[in-house]
């Protein structure tokens, strides 16, 4: 039963465009899905390593920009009369760039930031996103600055044997693609968490000194987690760039990080399903409130929700619901512990 439930859930989500073929609903769900992918990647850091990384929008934005610039091409001067020129590349190549570039930055940030912990780590990650925002805002030759990169090509699918890639313009196609990427991200994080890496991460989250003393290479594993997390967040950013088809420096705003943090914390950090549950709750909220309330109301609601969750349900919804199931807890204590703790 427990084994089939996730697949049934996936099938239900996949059937949404058939049951509810409304383009608006589908685009709301697709944009929620993109943020759920971001939240899934953040959860690997926030939930499983216990490091409160508040610069996650940086990886999301890097993915969006890397992917958009690869598909649009660019021609920039790098001083000394030299220029770097890139002709426009196909979208699938941009998508790969949108994963690889943030992953590289994740490696760099991890090497740098994991020298410190706690408040220092939090601040260094926030600064990282800010520097990138100011860079994209001011490096007009590459990024168009505040004028934004527009005319980004639509997502497309291609596989061997196909003559030309199929461009995905329809909302249901975009929805399915986002769902597929989300499912892959979920499975990837699950594999990581259940591997040697995941056990090392949880060990150092629970007691870093002890983990170190039994020979776990703490920084090594933290950097691996950051690279994976950054790559997944970059994939989400790439999807965002090619479905919205315009990217401006605001993708690096702290508020996007906060959106992902709220999803993870509300759903339950350090649980596989937490970001999905939190994301389904908060993802569609901006669009639902759009007609009836000013945009400030949405952020105020986010802020109040964050405060209430931390104060009254600190472990999030998923662990709370899991603990309501005493029968299962009694029958399979080990399984429940694994689910709650990671």
């Amino acid at each position: 039963m427990r084994y089939f439930l996730p697949w049934a859930f996936l099938a239900l989500l996949a059937a949404v465009p058939i049951l509810l073929p409304d383009p608006y609903t589908l685009s709301v769900l697709a944009s929620a899905g993109i943020f759920i992918i971001g939240a899934i990647s953040l959860n690997l850091l926030l939930g499983y390593t216990g490091q409160l990384s508040l610069g996650h929008a940086a990886f999301f934005g890097l993915g969006a920009y890397a992917s958009a610039l690869t598909t649009l091409g660019f021609d920039i001067g790098i001083g000394f009369g030299q220029r770097i020129t890139l002709a426009p590349q196909p979208v699938w190549f941009g998508f790969l760039a949108g994963i690889v570039v943030p992953a590289l930055f994740g490696w760099l940030l991890g090497r740098l930031a994991f020298r410190v912990r706690g408040a220092y780590f939090v601040i260094i990650t926030i600064c990282f996103a800010q520097v990138l925002r100011l860079l994209t805002l001011n490096w007009v030759e590459l990024t168009q600055g505040p004028m934004a990169l527009s005319g980004i090509p639509a997502l497309s699918l291609w596989w061997p044997g196909l003559d030309a890639p199929i461009a995905l313009f329809r909302k249901d196609q975009i929805y399915w693609l986002v769902l597929a990427v989300a499912a892959v991200a979920f499975l990837l994080v699950r594999q990581v968490v259940r591997s040697r890496i995941g056990r090392a991460l949880v060990a150092l989250r629970e007691n870093e000194t002890l983990a170190r003393s039994v020979g776990i290479r703490v920084t090594h594993y933290l950097v691996i987690a950051t690279v994976i997390s950054a790559g997944i967040a970059g994939a989400a950013g790439s999807l965002f760039a090619h479905s919205v088809r315009i990217v401006d420096p605001d993708v690096f705003l702290f508020i996007y990080t906060v959106t992902m943090v709220i999803m993870v914390v509300t759903g339950g950090k350090g649980t596989l399903w937490g970001p999905v549950v939190g994301g389904l709750l908060f993802g569609p909220l901006p669009d639902l409130l759009r007609g009836s309330a000013p945009p400030e109301a949405q952020w105020i609601a986010y802020g109040v929700a964050m405060i209430l969750i931390v104060m009254f349900l600190p472990r999030g919804i998923v662990p709370a619901v899991a603990s309501l199931w005493p029968r299962r807890a009694a029958a399979k204590p080990a399984a429940v512990a694994v689910e709650a703790e990671g």
């Binding site: 706690g118 408040a119 220092y120 601040i123 001011n138 870093e208 943090v261 952020w299 802020g303």
Partner: protein
């Protein structure tokens, strides 16, 4: 060339005074309460808006408005501490950070809602023509802001050094348990610390609001800069925060003058990343736990 450097030095000093004010409030709150205060920038914006409201809407005297705006900041800080931080006193540092982020979101967007997105100007009694001394020129308003900032810094130091509540704060800073055993009411010290730190942020906002313009997102960048200042000096290090404030003022001024005006705001963040990478305990602090 020399004249230009001198002008940057003066501008950096004037800017550094208010940055020091911001940094000291934030570092005091971290030192005494172990709270990473994300609402600091919003309190700064609150101070600026209160001056705007009192001067432009109620027509009060400019100087009186500065004092009232600071006091309102103190009151708001006390409220935040009593409602949000007191129930979480034994929670871990990450949970408190999340709550403070939530509070900052609520404060900032309430400001946006109440005042709208258009930036406001605050009229001041100062003339707009700069004072010129030799090669250096400075606006009278900026000079006044600097003088008040320095006066507040000195007053704050006296408060910590000479009064009973200041002694209680320093004791709690060093060792909350022992302080509590010696009869210090730690809860009261926490409320006063947070109110005072918030008051300093509101004062900085009230002073700088008339210099620049008042807008709902002004707190964002300033909140982050306050972190930059505090990191430069080492979290929880009071003299370090003052030095960090001036250091950031100079880095921004000279960076904008000699390297690039567009990246003015980025220099501070690059500096933090550099400092944390090379000397994680801060420039000033000798030794400190950073784990």
């Amino acid at each position: 060339m020399m004249d230009q450097a001198l002008q940057h030095l003066v501008n950096g000093t004037v800017l550094g005074g208010t940055y020091a004010l911001l940094g000291i409030g934030l570092t005091l709150i971290f030192g005494v309460m172990r709270v990473v205060n994300f609402t600091h920038g919003e309190l700064y914006a609150f101070g600026a808006y209160m001056v705007y409201a009192l001067v432009s809407l109620l027509g009060l005297n400019f100087y009186l408005s500065l004092v009232l705006a600071t006091l309102l900041g103190v009151a708001l800080g006390a409220l935040v501490e009593l409602v949000l931080l007191r129930p979480l006193r034994h929670a871990d540092i990450d949970s408190v950070m999340l709550v403070m982020i939530g509070a900052a979101l609520v404060l900032q967007n309430t400001e946006m809602w109440v005042w709208g997105g258009v930036a406001k100007m605050v009229p001041t009694p100062f003339v707009g023509t700069p004072l010129v001394v030799g090669p250096v020129s400075v606006l009278p308003l900026r000079l006044f802001v600097f003088a008040v900032a320095v006066a507040l810094l000195v007053g704050f130091w006296l408060l910590l050094d000479r009064t009973r509540i200041g002694t209680a704060m320093r004791a709690t800073f060093q060792d909350p348990q022992t302080a509590s055993l010696m009869g210090v009411r730690v809860g009261l010290v926490h409320t006063m610390t947070f109110a005072l730190g918030s008051g300093l942020a509101a004062a900085a906002g009230a002073l700088l609001g008339p210099v620049f313009v008042v807008s709902p997102t002004m707190g964002d960048l300033v909140g982050l800069k306050a972190f930059a200042i505090v990191i430069l000096g080492g979290l929880g290090n009071l003299p370090g925060a003052a030095i960090g404030g001036f250091a950031l003022g100079y880095v921004e001024e000279f960076g904008a003058g000699y390297l690039s005006t567009e990246y003015r705001d980025a220099f501070g963040f690059l500096l933090i990343i550099l400092v944390l990478a090379i000397r994680p305990q801060g420039l000033v602090a000798a030794r400190e736990r950073i784990g």
